[in-house]
C-alpha cells in the first residue's frame, strides 16, 4: 500500500497529463467511428447515436463519391503548396535578416511580424476583403493565395528564427577563417544547420493554409474556388456528405504516419551518432 502511494505521488502528474491527452483524441475517435456510419439522412451525418448506427465501408471505398469533394481537396492542396513555397522563402529571408544583422528598423520589423499573429483572423479576413473590393480584384484562387501567404509569413519567421538564434555564430567565422567565401560558408555550413527549422516552418505553413477557414471564407467570394474547409462549410445547409469523415480520418492517418516515420528516422540517426562517437 505504501509503495502504491509513493508511486502515485511520483506519477500523478503524468496520469493527469495522459488523461488530458486522451481527451484530445476523443473527437478524432468519433470522426473515425462516424466514417463507418451510413447516416439515415444527410442532416444526421453528425449525430452520434449507437442505436441508429449503420455500419458501412462505402465512405472509405467511395471517398470522392460526393459531388465536388475531391475537387475541393485538390484545390486545398494546390493553395497549400503555393502558399507554403512563397511564405517559406519570404519568411526565411526575413529571419536571416533579423538574426544575423543589426540594422535600423529592426525592432519595428519585429513588431510588424508579431502583429498578424496578434490579430484575430476575422479582422484580417474583413480587411483583405475590403481591399480586394476597393481594388476590384476578382475573388478566387489569387486572392486566397495572397491571403494565405500573408498569414503564414509570421509563423515561418518565428520558427526559422528560433532555429537560427540557436546557432553558434562562431561557426560562420570558423568557416571563413578556413578561407570559405561568405556564400560558401552560408551554403555549406549555415544552410544545412538551419534546414530542419525551414522544413518545420514549411510543414507549419502548409497545415495552416490547408486548414484555414475563417480568412478563406472572406476572400473566396462567389468565385466557386471552394477549398476543402469551404466545401464542408458550404454543405452545411444541404447536409454534409459522410465521405468528409473518411477523408478527415485518412488525413489524420497520413499525417500521423509521416510524423512517426520522421520520429523513427531521427531516433535511429541519433542512435547511430551515439554509437560512432
Amino acid at each position: 500500500m505504501h509503495a502504491l502511494w509513493r508511486w502515485l505521488a511520483d506519477k500523478w502528474v503524468l496520469l493527469v497529463g495522459l488523461l488530458i491527452l486522451l481527451y484530445l483524441f476523443v473527437p478524432i475517435a468519433v470522426i473515425f467511428l462516424l466514417s463507418f456510419n451510413q447516416p439515415g439522412s444527410r442532416n444526421t451525418t453528425y449525430v452520434l447515436d449507437l442505436q441508429t448506427f449503420d455500419f458501412t465501408w462505402n465512405n472509405w471505398t467511395d471517398m470522392c463519391g460526393a459531388a465536388g469533394i475531391c475537387d475541393a481537396l485538390l484545390r486545398s492542396i494546390y493553395i497549400g503548396f503555393g502558399a507554403t513555397l512563397i511564405s517559406t522563402i519570404l519568411g526565411t529571408l526575413i529571419s536571416f535578416a533579423l538574426v544575423r544583422y543589426r540594422f535600423f528598423g529592426r525592432s519595428g520589423t519585429n513588431t510588424l511580424i508579431f502583429l498578424p499573429m496578434a490579430t484575430p483572423e476575422i479582422v484580417m479576413g474583413t480587411s483583405l476583403l475590403t481591399l480586394f473590393i476597393g481594388w476590384q480584384v476578382p475573388l478566387g484562387f489569387l486572392t486566397i493565395l495572397i491571403a494565405h501567404v500573408m498569414f503564414c509569413i509570421s509563423f515561418v519567421v518565428v520558427t526559422v528564427k528560433a532555429r537560427l538564434a540557436g546557432l553558434d555564430p562562431r561557426l560562420q567565422e570558423a568557416a571563413m577563417d578556413l578561407y570559405a567565401t561568405p556564400w560558401q560558408a552560408f551554403r555549406l555550413v549555415i544552410l544545412p544547420l538551419v534546414l530542419p527549422g525551414i522544413v518545420a516552418a514549411s510543414l507549419l505553413a502548409f497545415s495552416l493554409s490547408f486548414d484555414d477557414f475563417i480568412i478563406t471564407n472572406f476572400v473566396t467570394g462567389t468565385s466557386g474556388y471552394e477549398t476543402f474547409p469551404m466545401f464542408i462549410w458550404g454543405s452545411n445547409l444541404r447536409g454534409i456528405p459522410p465521405q468528409v469523415n473518411a477523408i478527415a480520418s485518412a488525413m489524420f492517418l497520413i499525417s500521423f504516419a509521416f510524423v512517426i516515420a520522421g520520429q523513427l528516422r531521427n531516433r535511429r540517426r541519433s542512435a547511430r551518432r551515439a554509437a560512432t562517437s
Binding site: 497529463g17 447515436d49 544583422y101 498578424p116 490579430t119 484575430p120 561568405p182 530542419p196
Partner: protein
C-alpha cells in the same frame, strides 16, 4: 518529430533575443538586411497593414451608401456608436467566452505540458505528437465531431440525463457550455506548446536544489517552476485568447442565438447583409480592444519580448 520540435518552441513565441554580432566581413554591406527583408515585408505592408488602414477608413464611411451605389467617406464616427448600440452584448460575450476558455485551457494545459516536459522521459516526443494530433484533421470536422458528441441523442447528454444532472428536455447544444467546450478543445494545443517550450528549458537541478533546501513540492512549484515558466504562460494565454475572441466557427456550429459571438456578427454583416461600415467598425473595435489588452497584459506580466 524533431522536425516539428522547433515548431513547438516557435509556438512559444518567446525567446530571449540575443543579437548576434555579425561577422566582420558582413558589417560593411548595410543594404543586405534590407534586401532580405524587402519582399516579405512588402507583402505584409500591402496585404496586412494597408488593408487594416482601409478597414479603418471603411468604418468611417457614410452608412447611407451601399455596395451598388458606392460609399462616401465622411468621418462617420457614429458608426462606432451604432455598432456598440446594436452589438455590445455579443462583443462583451466574446471577450467573456475567450477569458473563460483561456482559464480552462491553462488549467488543462499546464499539467499536460508539465507532464510532458518534466515526467515525459523517453515518451516526450510521442506525447508531443499527441498534442498536435488534432491538427492532423480539419478544424471544421473536429468541431462537427463535438456537435455529434454533444448532440441530443449522444452519449454525453444520455449520461447527464441518467445522472439527473440534466432535465428530460435538457440539451447541451446551443448552450454556452457547448460553445466554450468547442473553443477549449480547439485552442488547447496553442496553450500546451508554448508552456511545454518554457518548461522543457527548466533545469531540473533547480527543483532538486529547492528540495535540498527543504522546500516542499508545493512551495518549490510556486517559487521555482511557476515563475520560470511565466513566459510560456504569457505566450500560451495570448495564443488562446486572441483566436477564441474572434472565432465564429464554434459559436455557429455548437451554439444558438443566445450564444452568438462577435465573429458571427461581423461575418454575417460583411458576407450576408453587406453592411460594410458597421461590420468594419466592429472589426476595428475587436482589433483595438485585443491589442490594448495584449499590451497591458504583456507589460504587466513583464516578459521582455514576445515573438
Amino acid at each position: 518529430m524533431a522536425a516539428l520540435l522547433p515548431t513547438a518552441s516557435a509556438g512559444g513565441a518567446v525567446s530571449a533575443e540575443v543579437p548576434v554580432e555579425p561577422p566582420a566581413g558582413m558589417r560593411r554591406r548595410r543594404w543586405i538586411p534590407y534586401a532580405l527583408l524587402a519582399p516579405g515585408m512588402l507583402w505584409l505592408a500591402v496585404f496586412f497593414v494597408y488593408p487594416v488602414v482601409q478597414l479603418f477608413m471603411a468604418s468611417l464611411w457614410n452608412p447611407a451608401g451601399s455596395i451598388e451605389t458606392g460609399y462616401v467617406f465622411d468621418w462617420s464616427w457614429s458608426n462606432y456608436a451604432d455598432a456598440w448600440e446594436m452589438f455590445h452584448v455579443q462583443f462583451l460575450r466574446s471577450l467573456w467566452y475567450a477569458l473563460i476558455t483561456t482559464v480552462i485551457c491553462l488549467a488543462l494545459g499546464y499539467p499536460l505540458a508539465y507532464a510532458i516536459a518534466i515526467k515525459g522521459g523517453r515518451w516526450k516526443n510521442l506525447m508531443l505528437v499527441g498534442v498536435i494530433a488534432p491538427f492532423f484533421t480539419s478544424y471544421l470536422v473536429r468541431t462537427y465531431s463535438w456537435k455529434a458528441i454533444l448532440s441530443d441523442s449522444g452519449p454525453v447528454v444520455d449520461f447527464l440525463k441518467w445522472a439527473h444532472l440534466l432535465g428530460p428536455d435538457g440539451r447541451l447544444l446551443a448552450t454556452e457550455f457547448a460553445v466554450i467546450a468547442g473553443l477549449v478543445y480547439n485552442f488547447l494545443p496553442f496553450m500546451v506548446l508554448p508552456l511545454y517550450a518554457s518548461l522543457d528549458k527548466l533545469d531540473v537541478r533547480l527543483l532538486e536544489a529547492a528540495r535540498d533546501l527543504y522546500h516542499g513540492p508545493v512551495r518549490s512549484f510556486l517559487r521555482v517552476t511557476l515563475p520560470l515558466s511565466l513566459p510560456g504562460v504569457v505566450a500560451g494565454t495570448l495564443l488562446t485568447f486572441i483566436p477564441s475572441a474572434g472565432d465564429y466557427v464554434n459559436a455557429n456550429l455548437l451554439g444558438g442565438p443566445n450564444t452568438q459571438m462577435i465573429g458571427s456578427v461581423i461575418q454575417s454583416r460583411f458576407l450576408v447583409v453587406n453592411d460594410y461600415p458597421i461590420a468594419s467598425a466592429l472589426s476595428v473595435m475587436l482589433m483595438v480592444t485585443i491589442l490594448v489588452l495584449v499590451t497591458v497584459y504583456v507589460s504587466t506580466a513583464g516578459t521582455d519580448e514576445v515573438v
